[in-house]
Structure formats: C-alpha cells, structure tokens
C-alpha cells in the first residue's frame, strides 16, 4: 500500500516536472513572474526541477529497498555588482526514503577582485583542485559519498565548504589559500542510506546501527587550511599542495570504541598535468601525515599514508574518450599496525592498489552520453561500476538512467562492503 502510494506520488511529481517542459516546446515561454522579479533586481535566476527514483537490486537487511526517491528544486541566483558578484544556490527536496523535506544550501558567497593580482571568495562554496578523476589525493574539500553511492548527480559528490578563498597571482607562481574556520567533514558513509562493514563489530551495519561520531565543532579552533601553489609551464600544469586539518571521514575510533573520530591530518603533495602523446597525462602524490599516530602503533587511529596517482586520457574514436588511472595507497609503519591490531580484525594490506577506467561515448549529435566509470582494485579484489546514460531530449529536458554496482570477494573490502547497496535509478530533469 505505502509502496504504491509512493510510486503514485513519484509519478505525479514526474508529471509535474515534465508538463512545463513538454508544454513549453515550440512556443515562446511566457514571462515567469519569479523571473521578472529577479530581472528587476538585476539578478540571474536559473535552476532545475528533478525527479529521481532508484531501487536496490540486492536484498539489504539493514536498509530500505528504495535507494533514492526525491523531487528536487534547485535555484541558482547570480548578481554582478560594482564591487563584486553574489551567488546563492540551494536545493529544496522531498526525500521519499527518509520521508522528510530537506533544504541544502549549496552556495552562498561573494566574489571580488580587489586587486589585479588577487581574487577573493567568501562564504559557502564548492571547492575543487587536483588532477584525479573521481579519485582525490590533495583535494581535501568535503565529499558527499552518500549522494555519490545512492545515485544523485555527480555534482553532489562535492559537498560545500564554509570558507574563505584568497587567490594571489604572481609572475613566478599563483597561490590559492582556503581557510575553513569550522572543520567540514565528508558526508561519509555512516549506515544512513548506505550499509557498510563495521570494523568495530566485524559485521555489516546500516540504519539500525549508525556510526556514531565525535564531531569537531570548535569554531576557529578545529579549523582547516589548504594551500595550492601552481604554475603553468608550457601548458604543463604544475602544483604543490598543503593541508592542515583532520581526516575527512572518520579516521579512527575513540578509546571506548563507541564512536568514530576525526584525527588530525596534515597532507603535503604535488601534481603535474599536460599533453602526453595524443592525450592528457596526469600524476599526483600526497603524504598523509596522521599526526595523532605518527608511529603507527595506535590501532584506533589511521596510520600515515603515501598516496600515488597516475592517469591518462585519450580520444580513441569519434566522440569516444577513454581515461585510465592507477592509484596506490601505501600505509606507512605497516609493521607497527600489524603488531598492535586486535587479532580478530581483518588486516589492511600495506598497499591498496586501485585502477579506474572511464569510457565516454557521445551519440545522436552529442545529445546522448553513455559513460561507464569502473573502479577495480586488484589488491582488494573488488569492483565498483557506474554506468550512466544521459539523454537531452531538448535544451531543457534531460533523462538519465544509471546504476551503482558493487561486487567483490570479501565482505570487508572498500567497495564490496557496499555490495548490498547495488542500485539502479532513473531521473528526469527540467532545467531553466
């Protein structure tokens, strides 16, 4: 009964989304009073309506069958003033899985160019740097893994930061400095929406036993600073990075093993990207200095790590691109980790190897995009596949089907722990 009612609601929402899109075709759009209002304020008003619905393809004892069911409205306001730009972007959505309404403020910032050599952006913003494709070493800005795995648009993998970003442009190099006064963690996998392997209990866990965490909320005390120093040399983009903050997803447990914690983390790294042969090559490294467990002998806190990435992208046919990446996480002081690990726990390998392959093909005058992103770990022997087909039926209307497929050999490995969360989804988006 409830299920059928939800489907009816979803269908009604779908109809509501489609109606203006279909009706709007081949005729001049009538002036929208909301648009008129923002025009008066010299503010650009855009956004989209979207309905997205997905189901688990596996039986997950910890989670609902419905993996995603939401009707979303995103508004995007942008205004250029004499002194700078103002941007506010937010999402309202009705979440059918959690049966609640949500407002997610994605951006609310001001941008200014106070000097020829300086840009400043203050407020809530989405921040990205680094060279990896869906792999991040020196990009320690918050990620929303939950959104990523349940099949929201990839835009939502990047969670916003409440930060100040100052960019300085000098002849010898450019420098970005971001300061986040209150630590912004990832929207990590906690059992909410996505079940996972709990190392504390040695079993998979979900909504019924969500991971408790000790948050860091001390304003100006538990803060984050990230730097990027970069330069373009003959179109080879070189960068050095630094980060002073905390593990973005829980990187350990408290003494009583009752809650996850965000231990202190410093990261130093570098990257390069440029033309290699017929394609684009990139290389990136990072040293993760786990400050609270520098010797690696505290089983409750992540050890320090080295992370390495090399990637290559090339067009292999008309409107057909392939990208490969090889990524390694090396746990430092692995011997100390093994010595102090409780005997029953599954041991993490010293090296976690990960390869990715992205295939993207555009068809039907580039209106149909077929893409497949696959993570495969030869050391964990597990796989995560993200097939997506996106069709632009018109300039305003897009249809998307996709899936998140997890499989592997052992229950605790990075991707295979999400095996029961394997899902497929369908979305309709009307942009304006």
């Amino acid at each position: 009964m409830i299920a059928s009612r939800r489907i009816t609601v979803a269908l009604l929402l779908l109809a509501a989304t489609l109606a203006p899109a279909l009706a709007g075709q081949d005729e001049e759009p009538k002036p929208d009073p909301v648009e008129k209002f923002f025009e008066k304020l010299e503010t650009e008003y855009h956004g989209f309506y979207e309905v997205r619905s997905g189901y688990r393809l596996m039986n997950d004892p910890h989670e609902k069958d419905m993996s995603i069911m939401e009707a979303r409205y995103q508004f995007d306001l942008f205004s250029m003033r004499d002194w700078g730009d103002v941007k506010v972007k937010g999402d309202f959505y009705g979440d059918g899985v959690e049966e609640k309404g949500v407002f997610d403020l994605r951006e609310a910032n001001i941008f200014a160019r106070p000097a020829d050599t300086m840009d400043v952006k203050l407020g809530r913003q989405v921040l990205t740097w680094g060279t990896g494709d869906l792999l991040f070493i020196n990009d320690l800005f918050p990620k929303d893994w939950q959104s990523f795995f349940i099949g929201r648009d990839v835009e939502y993998l990047k969670a916003p930061s409440d930060a100040a970003k100052v960019s300085l442009f000098m002849d010898w190099a450019n420098l970005d400095i971001t300061y986040t006064p209150e630590f912004d963690s990832d929207r990590f996998i906690s059992g909410e929406r996505i079940s996972y392997w709990s190392p504390a209990t040695g079993m998979s866990a979900g909504e019924d036993s969500k991971l408790a965490v000790e948050r860091r909320r001390e304003f100006f005390e538990e803060d984050e600073t990230a730097l990027r120093l970069y330069k373009n040399v003959n179109n080879y983009e070189l960068a050095a990075y630094g980060y002073w903050g905390y593990w973005k997803s829980p990187g350990g447990f408290n003494q009583t093993m009752t809650a996850g914690v965000f231990p202190e983390l410093y990261v130093y790294g570098a990257s390069a990207r440029g033309n290699v042969g017929k394609g684009i090559g990139n290389i990136e490294v990072g040293y993760y200095d786990s400050v609270d467990d520098r010797c690696g002998d505290d089983p409750l806190i992540n050890n320090s790590e080295m992370r390495y990435l090399v990637g290559y992208t090339q067009e292999i046919g008309r409107d057909f691109t392939a990208g490969v990446q090889y990524y390694v996480e090396q746990m430092l002081d692995h011997g100390d980790y093994e010595d102090t690990l409780p005997s029953a726990s599954p041991t993490r390998d010293e090296f976690r190897h990960l390869t990715t392959l992205r295939l993207t093909k555009l068809l039907m005058n580039q209106n149909l995009r077929l893409s497949l992103f696959t993570y495969y770990s030869p050391s964990d022997e597990d796989v995560y596949m993200r097939p997506i087909a996106n069709y632009k039926a018109s300039d305003n209307l897009a249809l998307e089907v996709g899936a998140n497929v997890f499989f592997g050999d052992e229950a605790h490995t990075f991707f295979n722990q999400f095996h029961d969360n394997t899902n497929a989804y369908l979305a309709v988006r009307h942009s304006f």
């Binding site: 855009h46 990205t128 990047k158 442009f169 179109n235 017929k278 394609g279 684009i280």
Partner: protein, 272 residues
C-alpha cells in the same frame, strides 16, 4: 582601411582596363593573385581579423524533424601571431545545463602540435583538461565542426584555383592525408574584393556533395568585413545549424585572460 584597399583595387582595375588594349594576357594574369596568396588572405579574414575580437554567438541547430536546439555563448579571441597561434575563450550562456561553463583553447597552428583545451564546470569547481580530439567532430553538438570554428590549417590541404568569376575565386582544397578526414575535397568561393569565404562545399569519398557552409550575412565592422551569419547544412542528415554573431568588437585590447584564473572566474567583459 578597407575603403582605401578598395580604391586601390578600383584603380588597378581601371589601369588594367587601359593596359588591356596593349597587353591583354599579362594584365589579366597580374590581376589574379596566386592561390597561396588567396587562401592565406581568406584565412586571415575568416579567423584572424584585427589583433583580437569579441562576439556574442547564437547557434540554432535544426534537425531534420524541425526540432530546434539553441546554444548561446560569448567568444573572445586573441591572436598570438597573424595566421599562427591564437587563444580562444568561450563563456556559455545557453542551454541552462551548460550555463556559465567556460572553455579555453590555446590553438597551435603548427600541423603537428595539438591544441590545448580546458573546460571549467562551475557546479563542481573543476578545471578539466580535454584530450586533443579529432578536429572534425561536432562543436557543442551543432553541425559546425571544431575545425570550422577554430580554422583548418592551410598546410593540411593542397590548394588549386579552379575558377575565377566576376566576383569570386573558386579554390579546390584536397587533403594531403585523405585518410584523416571524411571528405575527398572541398571548394571555397572567396569574395574577390574582400577575401571573405562565402561558400564552402564538401564532397564525400564518392565525389558527392554532402555538406555546405554559407556566409549569409557580411557586415563591415570597424572597417573590417565580418561574417555575421553563417549556415551549415548537412545534406546527409538533413540537419542544419545557423550561427549568428552580434556585438562584434575588434581591437578591444584583451589582456592576458587565457589562463586558469579567468577560466574559473571570467573577467566581467567576457560575461556580458
């Protein structure tokens, strides 16, 4: 500038006319530049007018069923060298799903050097490097190819002046590497007085006409002849794309904006 050139041209025609009485064949020959000069001049007029330029572009793609799709963007160009390397900056305004994306090209004229291309996606604040691709693939889903927009290197083809009419030079262009392209040759009709390419016709491997690009409107802007409406028709798919240029400005002294800073946040003049 143009007026003066035209006057000189007129003078030449007039003097030529007088000379015709005495030595007709020589005079006629002198009047017609060699084909390399023609294609080089046409290339400058089509892609390198002035030192820099800016325009608002509206593309309308109409498929064979009559369904229309629009693209709107602002394009800025700055030449590194006339007839050589150039930088392009594109700020997308429509459709909504690509709005505020920016696209940067460092075009390299050397035949063996691929262009450098970047795309910035504001929703995720990501600067993507785009692998050099087949230049004969569609530009933003339209019937224009990447190469139509940024220019095809003159060194790619051999050029032959096949016909000279009262108003046009007709040049036949045959690729030096036939396997690298889908056409066997294409012809360009170049306006004799201002060197604007007025019509291009592409012939497939069987020698059949399958694609045309026509300059439908030419305006003189800041004394420079400028194509302000261009239409490409794909006779095989029945699809066509109109490209209209407005707010064209030349020599606006575009600064050093073809880099990551401005890709992430374009200068004001690139956004309106």
């Amino acid at each position: 500038m143009l007026t003066r050139t035209n006057t000189i041209g007129l003078l030449l025609v007039l003097t030529g006319g007088f000379a015709l009485v005495g030595a007709a064949p020589t005079a006629e020959k002198e009047d017609i530049p060699d084909v390399q000069t023609i294609v080089a001049k046409a290339n400058i007029v089509a892609y390198y007018q002035a030192d820099d330029g800016k325009a608002s572009v509206k593309m309308t793609i109409t498929d064979k069923r009559g369904q229309k799709r629009d693209r709107e963007f602002i394009i800025l160009r700055k030449d590194v060298a006339d007839g050589g390397d150039q930088n392009y900056f594109v700020y997308f305004q429509r459709p909504p799903d690509v709005r505020r994306m920016t696209y940067l090209v460092h075009k390299h004229a050397a035949i063996d050097k691929d262009d450098d291309r970047w795309l910035y996606m504001p929703a995720i604040d990501r600067v993507n490097r785009i692998a050099a691709g087949d230049k004969r693939t569609s530009f933003v889903g339209s019937d224009f190819l990447y190469e139509d927009v940024s220019g095809r290197s003159l060194d790619e083809d051999t050029h032959e002046l096949t016909e000279t009419t009262d108003t046009m030079f007709i040049v036949k262009n045959t690729p030096k590497k036939p396997d690298s392209v889908e056409f066997s040759y294409f012809t360009v009709a170049i306006d004799r007085k201002n060197y604007v390419p007025m019509k291009m016709e592409f012939y497939d491997k069987a020698g059949k006409l399958y694609r045309t690009i026509e300059s439908q409107k030419v305006e003189v802007i800041q004394e420079l002849p400028t194509v302000t409406k261009s239409v490409v028709q794909d006779l095989k798919t029945g699809s066509k794309t109109e490209m209209e240029f407005s707010d064209v400005q030349y020599n606006i002294k575009i600064g050093d904006m073809f880099e990551e800073r401005y890709l992430r946040r374009p200068p004001r003049e690139a956004m309106r």
